[in-house]
Symmetry: C2
Subunit: 392 residues, 2 copies
């Protein structure tokens, strides 16, 4: 088993027997319930660990994230099955399949997500413009960071593809005076978002549409999608390209994609993909550019990698989640509670070790006139970047 | 002929006959010397225009850049020969072939380049942190922009691949206290750079090495290459990946590639490629990431598109060049003088229309600890970005 994992700084225990995987002091201890669990895991630790942990067949003592980080680093030295990634990513995504995947994850119930997300229910990477920001402040800063990159002006029109519980759409309308058409497949989320729009008096300027991104129509000045590309599937990037090309104004339009990505193609962890996010695939930048930007004739204006910000976001979520578990506020069974703990801790470990990246890509139609002269305004101008024709 | 070009805002003239290509007022007039020139150009305007202009078979009256911009925009609506791009880019670059290409362009003589480059002889895109900067100030700002993105610290080691006349290497050593090994194939440039290093008392900290990038050895904290990738050739990206992977420190290393690129694959203008830059190929971001970053296991940290800055840089160069021509300081013959005018004007037009992009890509070894928490320091911290382990 130790040989399968490689030289990670973890200790493996079965009954009174134990062994250190790595040469250094162990940051966590992995305890197996019985010989059978150990045998099953020895054959295929990467794919079997998630279920074994959820079922209680495996216990992790000490720092769960640090233990996973150490195991990730050790595994990273073994080559991954590159072709598998391609194979899985090419499974066709139909609107029906995507609707089921969305229901699997996002319709667990608003009450569950309220236990550990911020007040505005943002379920994507926050932006910590200072390290000591609260999760609430960092999510507001993320929304502003997106709006300021796009240089939104009052009266402009925005399309948002995959709007979650609607916080960004409402933020853009309230703070930047734009009108928004926001698309999402999840009925629970759309219901929540519409109620918020009513309550905030924004219903006339923010339209929440329960449709697939393929059904986006009309034109817009800005196209934004935060946390949806991971669920589109490589095989559909051409469809997304068509949607952006026909939607975005070619003279003054600009857009932003915010997504979990990879440094090189690899399948999503098989356990995450089975239990947490069916059909998800975090793409590389080159897959994204080749699949979406080249066919849509888009020009890349700016890319920012916010990897450490997602690790910290996940830490905030997990701390809130664990408090909710301790207080008996998580109504699901113990298996689910352990599964969700591992998902949050494993994701934090993946961003810390660089298995996952968080890319924000700003783009414009190729050759369009509008482009910020420099990015300084993003940090020091009240309204962020200016997307006019450069003065030079 | 007008049909070949499409609806550009230019007027075509032969003797006393003339016709407008587009519906709008003409920004420039293209005058043909005789029927034969018109006939040759009608068959293949894209490939024949450069030589015809250089030979005086064609004259452009009015605004040369505006005329080229208009023709570019009209041609952009016609699909380009995508496969040709691939074909040409795969012509093998051998060290000998690269040496000849370098000699063709860069060994025209330092005296020639001194006539129209800035004092420090930077022959790459400047950075206009304010639009009214002089070329000298904007080139200094570009060097600082690069150093601040890399967060260079005194005592660190830098490898520069393709160092031109050495200005950036000298700037890094003088203003950031690093030691630099800078590589270049051009004997004229290397001689100049070594003399500068001596004169500035930096010879002990900046080593100029007349070798191919393939021969780079040793280790470094930062790897930087400004304006070389265009000359490497797609087929050699794997070699460059090997060089970066074996050179860059995997724990605290980071790097920057600055290069002319494309939004989608296309061959370099055939005239530029024949007369000006043999073997050059401006890659797309996805070609760069797939060819260099994925095999070298690098993570993209930041991408900035400086397209308008190169248009303005080229305008500065052309204005200085035209003054030198007027003053009789350009010793080459009229054909060369016209060729160079068209090259500078055509390049400006290409950046203005978005045919060419200028990408600065900052990267680090995948999963390395050092990474700036945000990019704000690039604009407001005295030393630029900090590449420590994030505090969160």
């Amino acid at each position: 088993m130790a040989a399968r994992i490689g030289p990670a700084d973890v200790r493996l225990c079965l009954g009174t027997a134990s062994v250190n995987c790595g040469p250094g002091p162990a940051v966590a201890t992995i305890r197996f319930r019985d010989r059978r669990t150990l045998a099953v895991l020895s054959l295929d630790p990467v794919n079997r660990f998630g279920d074994a942990y959820s079922d209680g067949g495996v216990e992790v003592e000490g720092d769960l994230v640090a233990g996973l980080v150490s195991v990730n680093r050790a595994l990273a030295k073994k080559p991954g099955p590159h072709w598998l990634s391609k194979l899985r990513s090419l499974v066709p995504h139909t609107p029906l399949r995507d609707r089921k995947a969305v229901e699997h994850h996002y319709d667990l119930g608003n009450d569950f997500y309220r236990l550990w997300l911020d007040e505005q229910m943002l379920y994507t990477c926050a932006y910590f413009d200072a390290p000591d920001r609260s999760l609430e402040a960092a999510q507001a800063a993320k929304m502003e960071h997106v709006c300021r990159k796009l240089g939104l002006k009052p009266g402009e029109s925005v399309v948002e593809a995959g709007c979650g519980w609607g916080a960004l759409a409402l933020h853009m309308a309230r703070h930047h005076g734009v009108s928004v058409r926001a698309y999402n497949l999840s009925s629970e989320q759309i219901a929540w978002a519409r109620k918020e729009a009513q309550g905030q008096g924004l219903a006339s300027r923010v339209e929440f549409i329960q449709k697939d991104y393929r059904e986006i129509d009309g034109r817009c000045d800005a196209f934004v999608s935060v946390g949806m590309l991971e669920h589109v599937g490589l095989a559909n990037y051409g469809v997304l390209a068509d949607v952006i090309a026909r939607t975005l104004d070619r003279d003054r339009g600009r857009g932003l994609l915010h997504f979990i990505g990879r440094d090189w193609p690899e399948p999503l962890d098989s356990w995450i993909s089975r239990r947490i996010f069916p059909g998800a695939y975090p793409p590389t930048l080159d897959e994204t550019f080749r699949g979406v930007f080249v066919p849509a004739k888009l020009s890349v204006v700016d890319v920012e990698n916010l990897r450490p910000h997602y690790a910290l976001t996940l830490r905030h979520w997990r701390e809130r989640y664990e408090r909710a578990v301790e207080d008996g506020r998580v109504s699901f069974d113990e298996r689910f509670r352990r599964m969700w703990r591992l998902y949050l801790a494993g994701s934090e470990a993946a961003f810390r070790t660089g298995w996952l990246q968080l890319f924000q890509v700003v783009f414009a139609p190729s050759g369009s006139g509008g482009m910020p002269e420099t990015r300084a305004g993003l940090y020091d101008a009240p309204e962020g970047l200016t997307w006019n024709e450069p003065t030079f």
